[in-house]
Point group: C2
Chain length 334, copies 2
DNA sequence: TTGTACGCGTTATCAC
DNA sequence: GTGATAACGCGTACAA
């Protein structure tokens, strides 16, 4: 709370002196040791905290580069953020210093509590990831005067970067149909996510269209533990298993593989398993997991570019970018 | 580059008007549509980018809270950052709004290129994670006027938060000795890391002290792929395998398990495997991985608290905090 | 060591 | 009704 002016007053010196002392330039400026000490003591008493904004405003020879923030939820989906960031780092203008990047965690469903979206005092634009339905609702209803890009969500109001999740669901179903599956099942994480809903919808409608039977829609939490326990109880309880299970989350599929091992269900012979995202680990499970590759890295770069274009006012109306996902066949399917 | 004053001049209006238009308050302030349009056009021509610092400085009824930054490398170790952040979120004063948290990626070995450490124009303090030897060197030599805490590194100059990595290495060796192992091996990621070096050192010296034989020190990159390929070539080439292999990285251990499966080496019967970190996935490999639990969450909170204390000048000399890691026995060891 | 102009957006006050 | 003016926030750095 205290400013250097208050310190100056209490210590009986000028603001210049305080500034020098506090920045370790007292030697260069030949401030006396006594004065220095006095200033330091008062600063401590007053709990001085330098104002970053003021400092920065003054030093603004630092060329003005846009500050962009990634709003990401701090939950189990954290694994994808590393791919997102690596995508940005490797393939964008980040390394040329064309923008500054911040990551700001937020709690799922509580986007409305992120003050800086209103005040505009933190960043020039934001990429919002993992927005829940409430969060989207909030965004649609509120008039934010900050450039935004939504990652993996749809909106008419803002630019978006997506994969066609319905198509993904459909393609997986078609693949299973080609492989001769008749009875299938799907496992859905209990998170509020448009993308997940669309994958489910696309899958179920294609299953129906193709004349297959969907035996189960199972739900549990997003993690390995969720996949593990949902499959354990499925296997224990029911006689009839599908021939394949599509997990809308890789960690869940990983957990499921262990459950199968423990209960003597052979993957892929007794049960085939397909995941979603292509997390790093999935190539090294036993057996390696067949999964849908989500082009996170490319989408990350696209999100940043969209946002920069919006900030620079090269883009005046919202744009929707659509990417394609791709089924990676590994050993957990036949 | 352009300021609202320049826009005002070019558009032939006052700065107040420009500000109102740019903030969507033109209605409320009853600015004529023509003026509004003129301002908007000029702003676009000039490529106006609002100065976040100026904005923020003005709005500083926003109570001053310290801004702290986590400097984290954007490499494979990304999995740990999610645990780090979750630790902060769940157990610290973050949720009370006592500080603002930013994450700033940096490239390993290039900490010296992080300008804001010099200028002090971004944050009130920083937690530095994954510093390489060069980075540490840089920190020791340079006089940064910014409060710092080093995560998982030692320093006399700055406060640090660590686990006793030598002790970890020693304890693993002792456990193996108790279990009757005679011939062991260790796999080391090829990253520059004090913590890794200490674990290795502690392990090797204890192995020697206890009269066991260390057959291999294998090195490859930090990832699943690294562990996979190093073990594949080990098994293919050599006749004599150790009875246990200690991996100083969980992902490597995960990759190794798959390599073993593929080559018919049974885990743990033919070869026992121990990892390090207790990544989320390790509880769900097949078999579940015995690993060293790194108390990332607790260390994260401690780092934040140390840093806040330093920023608030409650702490005037560097403090070193030491945590204990813990061996989690699962099924990849007998 | 001190005094003070400066950086830039916001907003309350004042004027036409 | 519309719009201009100026004070303000706070740390920095240069002239005195």
């Amino acid at each position: 709370m205290a400013t250097i002016r208050e310190i100056a007053e209490k210590a009986g010196v000028s603001v210049g002196t305080v500034s020098f002392v506090l920045n370790g330039k007292s030697e260069k400026m030949r401030i006396s040791a006594a004065t220095k000490e006095r200033v330091l003591v008062v600063a401590r008493e007053l709990g001085y905290l330098p104002s970053i904004s003021a400092r920065r405003l003054r030093n603004s020879e630092e060329k003005q580069t846009p500050i962009i923030t990634i709003l990401w939820t701090l939950d189990a989906r954290a694994s994808l953020i590393s791919r997102f960031l690596q995508g940005i780092q490797k393939k964008s203008s980040f390394k040329d210093g064309m923008f500054e990047l911040l990551i700001q965690p937020y709690e799922n469903g509580k986007l409305n509590e992120v003050e800086s979206l209103h005040t505009g005092t933190r960043f020039n634009g934001a990429i919002i990831a993992n927005a829940s339905e409430e969060d989207l609702d909030y965004l649609e209803k509120t008039n934010l005067n900050v450039p935004l890009v939504l990652y993996q969500r749809y909106s008419k109001k803002y630019s978006t970067v997506n994969v066609d999740s319905k198509l993904t669901g459909r393609e997986v179903a078609e693949y299973l149909f080609e492989k001769g599956h008749k009875k299938v099942g799907i496992v859905v994480p209990t998170i509020s996510s448009q993308a997940v809903d669309y994958r489910l919808e696309g899958f179920l409608s294609a299953v129906k269209d193709l004349g297959m039977e969907n035996l189960y829609i199972l739900r549990d939490n997003f993690t390995e533990q969720g996949g593990y326990s949902v499959i354990k109880s499925l296997i224990k309880k029911s006689k009839k298993l599908p021939t394949v299970l599509f997990f809308l989350s890789d960690p869940m599929a990983v957990g499921a593989i262990l459950a199968c091992h423990e209960l003597g269900v052979r993957v892929p012979d007794d049960l085939e398993i397909i995941g979603h995202d292509n997390d790093d680990q999935t190539a090294y499970t036993f057996p390696p997991l067949t999964t849908v590759h989500l082009p996170v890295e490319e989408m990350a770069v696209a999100s940043v570019n969209q946002l920069l274009d919006t900030i620079n006012q090269r883009l005046t109306t919202p744009v929707s970018l659509q990417f394609r996902s791709e089924l990676l066949i590994r050993k957990s399917t036949k």
